[in-house]
């Protein structure tokens, strides 16, 4: 297991490369989903108000 984590002495380069990639992909996906939910909520609120004012 330790041998695997050491990556033949390149651990300091291999793991950051994978960690950074995972981090960036997760953040972009999370932000996109959060934006969609926020916008959907705003839309429902606005269309709700419109219904009431009728």
């Amino acid at each position: 297991m330790n041998e695997f984590l050491e990556m033949g002495g390149y651990a300091a380069f291999v793991w950051p490369a994978y960690g950074l990639s995972a981090g960036v992909l997760v953040v972009i996906a999370w932000l996109s989903i959060r934006d969609l939910k926020n916008t959907q909520n705003t839309f429902e609120k606005l269309s709700g108000e419109k219904e009431k004012s009728k």
């Binding site: 033949g8 002495g9 490369a17 990639s21 996906a29 959907q40 269309s47």
Partner: protein, 243 residues
């Protein structure tokens, strides 16, 4: 044209997106699991570069996606300019941040590979420099999209930028042939067949599928968000005008 405009109907598109999105997520999760397993356990270490060569399985697919996303953005921009297809601008806008993220990742993972192999984090080599220009093009595109209050003008200006900037994509691809670069030349897609061993090629291709599926998944989320945001804008305008 009639066929093209059938898909311009956001309701039709939203229905299609609802079907595509979970499938894209499933393909992504499956291929990233298999791809990572192969990248770390079945692929051999390189006989010269040792274990550091495993960086290739994120670096190369990220770089492919950087160019692929820009190409999608340029084609969508052309469709948006010529046919004023409403979904074209939406898809280009939604693609830009994903493409920028992949471009950043290809530069960062390349740097992490370059340090132990070339002895430097960065060189002003034709390949590296042209990819850095690509990152700036993405950033410029996103800035321009946000710089106008009028969405039609924003779409037009940024589409022109995307098209002019497309000249950089073949420059990136052929930079390793046209100039003496520190970066290695193409080995997967080239005349006379791939020069990479299947034990390394397969994990690379599966990781590439994973990144592509990720792109499709996030693209669907972002396009849906853009379309709902359009509706919100229309509702607000109606409120202002007492409609």
């Amino acid at each position: 044209m009639a066929d093209l405009h059938r898909f311009a109907n956001p309701t039709r598109f939203l229905k299609l997106a609802g079907i595509i999105q979970p499938w894209a997520l499933a393909v992504f999760l499956l291929s990233i699991t298999v791809g990572l397993y192969m990248a770390f356990f079945t692929a051999p270490a390189d006989y010269q570069q040792g274990e550091s060569a495993r960086i290739m399985y994120v670096h190369v697919p990220a770089a492919w996606m950087a160019m692929f996303c820009y190409t999608v953005m340029a084609v969508a921009s052309a469709v948006s300019l010529i046919w004023k297809h409403p979904l074209a601008d939406v898809s280009a806008r939604a693609t830009a941040p994903i493409g920028a993220a992949f471009t950043f990742l290809s530069l960062a993972t390349g740097s992490l590979w370059g340090k132990p192999m070339w002895g430097t984090w960065w060189v002003w080599d034709a390949r590296l420099t042209s990819v850095l220009v690509l990152l700036f093009l993405y950033i410029g595109y996103m800035a321009l999209q946000g710089a106008f209050d009028d969405r039609v003008r924003a779409a037009k200006a940024s589409a022109i930028l995307a098209l002019v900037g497309f000249v950089n994509v073949p420059i990136i691809k052929f930079s390793v042939d046209w100039w003496n670069t520190l970066h290695q030349p193409a080995s997967v897609i080239k005349m006379g067949g791939s020069s990479i061993h299947p034990s390394m090629l397969w994990p690379l291709l599966i990781m590439a599928i994973a990144f592509k599926a990720y792109y499709v998944w996030v693209l669907m989320v972002r396009m849906r968000q853009e379309l709902v945001a359009n509706k919100v804008r229309i509702l607000r305008l109606k409120q202002v005008h007492g409609g």
